[in-house]
């Protein structure tokens, strides 16, 4: 049924000269855009339902389909943009909270694009990563205040200091928390396998650990979120590390809600909740109302895992992020993950996704500086998250002070996501953010695993190239080395917070 005043976002055209009436598009679209008119024996389309995911166009054998932004122009208005007008129409129609998937899509400045990297010239020769060893190995976890050594009678030296548990990453890129339930079995499975193949880690999110993914648990970080879904001693002990989810960049300060429609038998078993019930994650952890309480949960997890695993605390980048991160470190976090306001989600109120939180660039710089000032930077590793679109963003984050990054959206895009932002509908035509068996089987786990591995390999090679260009042969030497960054078209205040000089300085 057509909604009053809600006009289509896209106009879909089918070139009749090309179309061979094969009806592939009809079968491919879960949004029912395409229908086969039996009488006329013609395929017809209803543009209004199109979400712009390109699934039909990508599979049409004759490239008959083109999709354009609807050119139904409103009178140009810099204030009342078409998106805002349409949002009001939708809410006037439905009277509820507007939902969105993926990350903040507003055109606020992306500070990564205002930072440039250094390269060696003449005095400090660059290194050719093809011929010389280039070290990307990264260890995440608490580092000791000092190292003490023992020397035995034969003069042999050994380490006396007991080291805290560490995660060893072959490359400083991990897959961020995406729960099985919000994404499909094959998508989760592919992330776990690609992480293992690349010697890095994937985060299960708060949806529990499917029994089939247990063989990959050495490369999995499990989450303890406010809903405590699927959390039991086995879950905590089987994983490589445990992450307490306090916040998520796409929706700081609010909880989660996996609708009953997505809770099928498998998701129910993994989350340990009854089938077809809503999975509600409260906004706060109800055993955490203070930093003291956070410490209590961190140490509860350490007790349950007998101090064998790093405990990570994930917070969203909000105004006081530096103080909060400092509190988390003092509370005993071995890793602090910070999720910037462009971080993705399966579902969030649009108003929160687009208006709450701060950019990861500023949050990361502020946290790193604060922890250094307080002399506790070594007590926890920092993982930055919240929209890393390329290896350049990653290496800039490391120069700003991150030990590693989490990628979520980029990983989904590698698997075929077209950023249509409709993940919350459960009708992902690419088989990623859905539990509909007709859709999930579209994502081949072998292909997706390969594509994810390729992405990690490509980005790692690029990082090595950039490092070599800077005359650096180990990522460790770039970490927090802000001399290698310069800002372009940034205010003095921005430069100050980022702790970098302007280009030309």
């Amino acid at each position: 049924m057509r909604k009053w005043l809600v006009e289509p976002d896209f106009i879909l055209t089918r070139d009749p000269d090309r179309c061979i009436n094969c009806q592939v598009c009809v079968r491919q679209c879960a949004n029912d855009v395409h229908v086969h008119d039996e009488e006329a024996d013609l395929v017809q389309s209803d543009s209004e339902k199109c979400v712009g995911c390109h699934r039909c166009a990508a599979l049409c054998p004759t490239q008959a389909i083109s999709i354009e932004k609807a050119s139904l122009e409103f009178r140009p208005n810099g204030n009342w943009t078409a998106d805002r007008i349409r949002a009001v129409y939708k809410q006037a129609e439905g009277g509820g909270i507007l939902l969105s998937g993926m990350g903040n899509d507003q055109t606020l400045p992306v500070l990564w694009d205002h930072m440039v990297l250094n390269a060696s010239q003449v005095t400090n020769p660059s290194i050719d990563p093809l011929r010389e060893p280039m070290e990307l190995v990264t260890y995440l976890g608490r580092k000791p205040d000092r190292l003490e050594l023992n020397r035995d009678a034969n003069g042999k030296v050994s380490l006396a200091t007991e080291l805290a548990p560490q995660l060893r990453l072959e490359t400083p890129i991990m897959f961020s928390a995406m729960s099985y339930g919000s994404i499909s079995y094959n998508a989760s499975f592919s992330l776990a396998r690609a992480a293992q193949a690349a010697g890095t880690f994937a985060n299960t999110g708060e949806g529990g650990l499917h029994k089939d993914f247990r063989p990959y648990a050495k490369n999995l970080i499990v989450q303890v979120a406010s809903g405590r879904f699927g959390v039991d001693p086995d879950y905590l002990n089987v994983a490589a590390a445990v992450e307490i989810k306090i916040g998520q960049g796409a929706k700081p300060g609010i909880g989660g809600h996996l609708p009953a429609e997505k809770v099928d038998a498998q998701v129910s078993a993994t989350r340990m909740i009854p089938e077809r019930t809503d999975a509600l994650s409260p906004a706060p952890h109800h055993d955490i109302y203070s930093i003291e309480d956070l410490r209590q949960l961190i140490y509860g997890i350490k007790e349950a895992t007998q101090y064998t695993k790093p405990v990570c605390v994930k917070i969203s980048a909000v105004h006081n992020v530096a103080a909060i991160a400092s509190g988390a470190v003092r509370a005993g976090a071995d890793i602090v993950a910070i999720d910037g306001f462009r971080g993705g989600t399966g579902a969030a109120p649009t108003v929160i996704r687009d208006n709450v939180g701060i950019p990861i660039e500023l949050a990361l710089a502020a946290v790193d500086a604060r922890l250094r000032d307080e002399g506790i930077r070594h007590q926890a590793s920092i993982v930055a998250a919240g929209s890393f679109r390329s290896s350049a963003d990653v290496i800039k984050a490391i120069a700003l002070g991150a030990d590693a990054v989490y990628i979520g959206t980029a990983a989904l895009v590698a698997m075929g996501c077209h950023l249509c932002q409709k993940c919350y509908t459960g009708k992902c035509n690419w088989g990623i953010a859905t539990q509909d068996p007709m859709l999930t089987k579209r994502l081949n786990a072998d292909v997706a695993t390969r594509r994810l591995s390729n992405l990690l390999r490509g980005w790692s090679l690029e990082i090595k190239e950039m490092l070599g260009g800077m005359g650096i042969n180990a990522i460790e030497s770039l970490r927090g080395n802000r001399e290698h960054l310069r800002g372009i078209a940034l205010s003095d205040r921005d430069l100050n917070i980022l702790g970098i000089k302007a280009a030309g300085e």
């Binding site: 939708k90 809410q91 129609e93 439905g94 009277g95 509820g96 909270i97 507007l98 939902l99 406010s226 809903g227 405590r228 959390v231 039991d232 001693p233 086995d234 905590l236 002990n237 809600h257 609708p259 009953a260 129910s268 340990m272 909740i273 009854p274 019930t277 809503d278 509600l280 409260p282 109800h286 055993d287 209590q296 140490y299 509860g300 007790e303 349950a304 895992t305 007998q306 919350y424 509908t425």
Partner: protein, 254 residues
């Protein structure tokens, strides 16, 4: 504890002024070595007793255990010969906790299985986000009264509050009882002032199955703490259920 204690039926561990970590490590080692009962003496607010234990056996606590008693616990039995503090049975999965006194806030937070019996009263937010799954159905029996927000966000399991010995004038449960509740059931020893109920809960009659449950758990309560089961069962019990399985299903537009 010494190595030769392993295999013994019973060991005593003195907690005293030692930190919780070595004490808990000793308790774990003893139970995992097959000791049937660990007697923990002189407990002074030690946290995480029983945390994450998946073995069998029993821990008897003399003194006051600290927060997060039986957190993530998946098997053993704990008996507290006194009061307990906050977050007893936090995300507990299996086993049994018996408290011969009162307990603090957030009792049974996100508990998924097992039983907690409290002789006296409990603080705020007892049973918050308790859940159930298949054969796992957590049961909490509170002898006295509960503070505000009882059964908040409750998604499964059974909360029983008997309303026995409690301070004069204290209601059986505080305000906002059952706010956000979307599964499970609460059985209270008397009807609550409707103004104390969250919007998401409603009163219901006890079914024959509820009565059988009640008889069973009151029996366990009396066996643990004494008292007269028939007298308790004669109280005007009322059941509260979520009015909707999906309290928040209708607030979004696409």
């Amino acid at each position: 504890m010494t190595a030769n204690a392993a295999g013994a039926a019973h060991v005593t561990i003195a907690a005293g002024d030692r930190p919780y970590r070595p004490v808990n490590a000793e308790v774990r080692a003893a139970l995992e070595a097959g000791v049937k009962t660990v007697e923990l003496s002189d407990v002074r607010g030690h946290r995480y007793i029983g945390c994450g234990l998946t073995c069998q056996g029993k821990i008897v606590i003399h003194g006051v255990p600290g927060n997060d008693l039986a957190m993530f616990m998946d098997g053993p039995e704990i008996e507290v010969l006194g009061n307990a503090q906050d977050a007893v049975g936090n995300t507990m999965n299996r086993g049994r906790v018996t408290i011969h006194g009162d307990a603090g806030d957030v009792l049974a937070h996100s508990m998924r299985g097992g039983t907690i019996l409290v002789k006296g009263s409990v603080g705020y937010r007892a049973g918050i986000h308790m859940k159930s799954y298949k054969e796992k159905r957590p049961v909490v029996v509170i002898g006295g009264a509960a503070g505000d927000y009882l059964g908040e966000y409750m998604a499964g399991g059974l909360l029983i509050v008997l309303g026995l010995a409690r301070e004069r004038g204290l209601p059986i449960s505080g305000i906002y009882t059952g706010t956000g509740m979307h599964g499970g059931a609460m059985i209270l020893g008397e009807a609550l002032d409707p103004r104390s109920l969250g919007r998401e809960v409603g009163k219901a009659d006890l079914t024959p199955e509820d009565l059988a449950d009640l008889r069973r758990y009151v029996g366990q309560y009396v066996a643990a703490f004494g008292g007269n089961a028939e007298e308790i069962l004669a109280r005007p019990f009322v059941k509260y259920l979520p009015v909707s399985r999906r309290p928040y299903g209708q607030i979004y537009v696409y």
